[in-house]
């Protein structure tokens, strides 16, 4: 039988916020490259399996056999240099990705609770703040962990740009290290 004694332990624990579990990180390219390599390995198994299946059933025309006889008698040719370059480039890319850093796109809120937003959420927040400013007709934002670029279309009322900037900075002020906000304004009918 489970029993609880509310109150006593609660009082002893105090009211400290939960310690943070740390910001989440993404795996980066290796996150999909790994599963892709696993699929390729299964593909190799399928090729071997087809060979074994055909030969055990008395046949002799297999994918591996066809590839081997196709390559037979191949003499050096200049186009192989291009194939070699492609192989080297793919190999270099794989080596680079093997050492690639994890991706970080989370920004922590101030405080110790471990609350965070992703850069995409920050962009939507800035857009939402800018949309509430008088004179802003349309707003779009792209954000990284260091900076947010707000592109607005305004009616041309003077001061709209700085008001939008202030609104965006206010919206992000609860972040532990808010990204720098840059505003690009165009007026309706502007050729740019």
């Amino acid at each position: 039988m489970t029993t609880t004694t509310p109150g006593r332990h609660a009082a002893a624990q105090g009211r400290a916020p939960l310690p943070s579990a740390g910001l989440p990180t993404g795996a980066g390219t290796i996150g999909w490259l790994g599963p892709l390599l696993a699929v390729l390995l299964v593909g190799v198994a399928v090729v071997l399996g087809q060979d074994a299946w055909v030969r055990l059933n008395g046949g002799s025309t297999t994918w591996l056999g066809t590839a081997a006889s196709g390559l037979d008698g191949l003499a050096p040719a200049p186009w192989m240099a291009a194939v070699g370059v492609v192989l080297v480039l793919v190999g270099l890319w794989l080596v680079l990705k093997a050492f690639g850093r994890r991706t970080r796109d989370a920004l922590a809120l101030r405080g110790s609770s471990g609350a965070h937003l992703t850069t995409g959420d920050v962009a939507r927040l800035v857009t939402g703040a800018a949309n509430q400013v008088d004179g802003v007709l349309d707003a779009k934002t792209s954000a990284s962990r260091r900076s947010a670029t707000l592109s607005i279309t305004t009616t041309g009322t003077p001061g709209t740009e700085s008001q939008a900037q202030q609104a965006a900075e206010r919206a992000l002020s609860a972040l532990a290290s808010p990204p720098r906000v840059r505003v690009r304004a165009t007026t309706t009918g502007d050729p740019s």
């Binding site: 009211r15 916020p17 939960l18 074994a52 056999g65 192989l87």
Partner: protein, 194 residues
């Protein structure tokens, strides 16, 4: 995804990368007739005769079948190892448990209640919570979806308050918190007076 699987991914990507670089360099040099500089006895043309002989040998079919099974199982295991595996911890044992009685609480229910309290914050559309065991850590995960016009300062204070309450209720020193705040794409039209 566990760090061990990620390490295996990186190692095998590195290995395949190095193999491709070596193979590409060899193919390119051979195509241009330069391979004999580093390998004087490089063949003038490809001869797959030995390979074809091996493929036709009596032992080959059995070996290929065995190889296919082994590589297929390895590949499937490798692929499935990428599926995130996170268990909800079940009931949490509380401090104060002894032989006279065990104190336990459903952690996910407590986290869900905390999320419901958070959902009352102005500008918050919805919230959900659960307790999971993630890479050896016991983590109370709360996911909050807020309107684009939400006051983030107010939300941050509400998160601090609510997780402090959750900490008080669960009273586990090994419990960590992670609150993901999502901002909705569009403002949901709300009644002006509530």
């Amino acid at each position: 995804m566990s760090r061990r699987v990620l390490g295996l991914d990186r190692f095998l990507a590195l290995l395949l990368g190095l193999v491709l670089i070596a193979l590409g360099a060899a193919v390119g040099a051979w195509g241009l007739g330069q391979l004999t500089r580093v390998w004087p006895s490089a063949p003038g043309q490809v001869s797959t005769g030995p390979v074809t002989n091996a493929l036709g040998a009596s032992w080959w079919a059995g070996a290929a079948a065995a190889g296919a099974v082994v590589l297929g199982l390895l590949g499937l295991w490798w692929l499935l190892a990428h599926v995130p595996r996170r268990s909800t911890g079940g009931p949490l044992r509380l401090s104060g448990s002894d032989r006279s009685g065990a104190l336990s609480v459903d952690g996910s229910a407590a986290a869900q209640t905390a999320a419901e309290v958070l959902a009352e914050t102005p500008g918050v559309r919805s919230a959900s919570g659960k307790v999971v065991s993630d890479r050896g850590q016991l983590v109370a995960e709360i996911s909050v979806t807020a309107e684009p016009s939400v006051d983030l300062t107010e939300l941050a204070e509400a998160v601090e308050r609510t997780t402090a309450d959750l900490n008080t209720v669960l009273g586990r020193s090994d419990l960590r918190g992670r609150v993901a705040v999502h901002i909705a794409r569009r403002e949901r039209s709300q009644p002006r007076v509530r």
